[in-house]
Chain length 311, copies 2
């Protein structure tokens, strides 16, 4: 197995949209730079939280070009490059490799349901072979609540065996710790990331690489603290604090809630815009969310902290 | 409500692929012309059975261009133009309108789950307004087994009310007759198609427009007979026959089975190719399927009939 290109806390970066729903390049690159300044170990741009599948391949590729041009190092990026079609997945992956991205986070083809492991293996094989570049480092994106297409232990094992230097890790967004635990035990040395910081400490104790988490967009400092201190006596208390913050946020629809939080604490109302079929948080829900976060000590971009933390 | 551009039996046309998995333009256009010669009332190219979501937008658009260039009239076509992103859906719909397609079959944005009707309404509104052409005639594609994103009666009603000359019909591939029945009763005059010929007679008796069915690719004559005779005393017996044929086919994985059938009866083994994540039918399953169909009197492209029916 290859050396791991990523370890720690990554965020699937929110994608800002302008009033006419176009990707907002300037806000996007500024936010990515702010995330890295906050200590993010990498940026999983174009994930589920990024509304990536609400953008065409061309839009996503345009944003990645702009991000690289803005000076963000490719090595810090793990763009989402999954697609339902082999040709689109190949195109996205080739661009990521050309930009020197440290890795990519690849969804399975998610339209058809009930596909068997042979078919999924064939899909990934085609993509890997067509990209044909040793710079490709794939993290499998296991997120059955959205895809209904899980990566079984058997499929993961087959992919690692066939492509040991290319299939290097996985993000488990299934929300089921027993599955993450089984992956950690079956594939030591594989770059396994929890899909939520709720499982960060358990993942690190199990030999995993860290977490790639939606709330990393708004609570980067708190989550990093667990990663930095996971072997200390404070680890469990720090984990309890970030779990508490997570639960406050996920009591609302996650992506609109995160955008409302950024809009509020960054003093930039344009951030609240989402692309249909998502709908923005209504004013009352936003008010309740902000009140809950203001009262939460573990939340790390509360106003007093934001000015210190700004780039 | 607008005049209905389609009525009768339509097929979501299978997409042939070459050995290197590229769309096979020559086989595709030849098969589309054969389908029309068999009496298909329209071709719902780029549906689920077409493996449309295993192709990029560029690949689908290339095939549609080629089909029009080959002389197939746009008025006979109902291409699938749904996508998870507004910009890709707009692009596909604009092309369909430019080619004079009689209608389009539009999936909802299918990646995110649990989106509410306000968000789905906003998505369709954006697409309709951005296409901005009275030639756009949308059939909503209700297929919760794949999308987990149903069109509720309320959402259908809101779309018809807001866009009465654009949102003209629906294909119900939910497999639940009570839902089709509810739509027929709630929206008389709306172009409601069953997603399977199993419900064809019931749909016609309920005032619906017909069916758009996968097995239309291989049993066009049998299914047409029900449509042509639905008000005669023979209707129930004819329906029973096509239901029996359907059940033989759908006892196997549908798309690989249909391609194996075309490969066998059209004497063209290349047709069996599917794109990953689908896998072709194995030899033994194919043999059993063909034996069952050879023994089925209602099946209409059995060898003796194929030579008569050829273009």
């Amino acid at each position: 197995m290859t050396d791991q290109p990523f370890r720690g806390v990554l965020a699937p970066v929110l994608t800002p949209f302008t009033a006419d729903l176009s990707p907002d390049v300037a806000r996007f690159t500024a936010f990515c730079r702010w995330m890295l300044a906050q200590g993010a170990d990498g940026l999983a741009v174009f994930g589920t939280t990024s509304e990536a599948n609400s953008m065409s391949a061309d839009e996503r590729m345009g944003l990645l070009d702009a991000l690289i041009e803005s000076g963000v190092p490719g090595a810090k990026l793990m763009p989402g490059t999954g697609a339902c079609s082999i040709d689109e997945a190949v195109r996205l992956n080739k661009q990521a490799v050309a930009h020197g991205c440290g890795g990519v986070l690849m969804l399975p083809p998610f339209y058809y349901k009930g596909m068997n492991d042979d078919g999924l293996f064939a899909f990934f094989s085609e993509v890997v072979q067509r990209v044909g570049d040793s710079g490709l480092k794939i993290y499998l994106y296991h997120i059955p609540p959205q895809t209904a297409t899980p990566f079984s232990l058997d499929l993961i094992g087959r992919l690692i065996k066939e492509y040991p230097d290319t299939v290097v890790g996985l993000k488990d967004s299934g929300g089921d710790w027993s599955n993450t635990d089984a992956i950690l035990k079956a594939f030591p040395g594989f770059g396994t990331f929890a899909g939520s910081e709720v499982f960060l400490l358990d993942t690190l104790r199990g030999g995993g690489a860290g977490c790639i988490t939606a709330t990393g967009n708004v609570n980067p400092g708190g989550i990093r603290k667990v990663f930095e201190n996971w072997e200390t006596p404070e680890a469990d208390a720090l984990q309890a604090a970030i779990t508490k913050t997570r639960k406050i946020i996920q009591a609302r629809p996650m992506v609109p809630a995160l955008k409302a939080i950024v809009a509020h604490y960054h003093n930039d109302p344009a951030w609240a815009t989402v692309r249909p079929p998502m709908v923005p948080l209504d004013a009352e829900t936003t008010k309740g969310l902000i009140a809950d976060l203001d009262a939460d000590e573990g939340f790390t971009i509360a106003p007093a902290k934001l000015s210190d933390a700004a780039e």
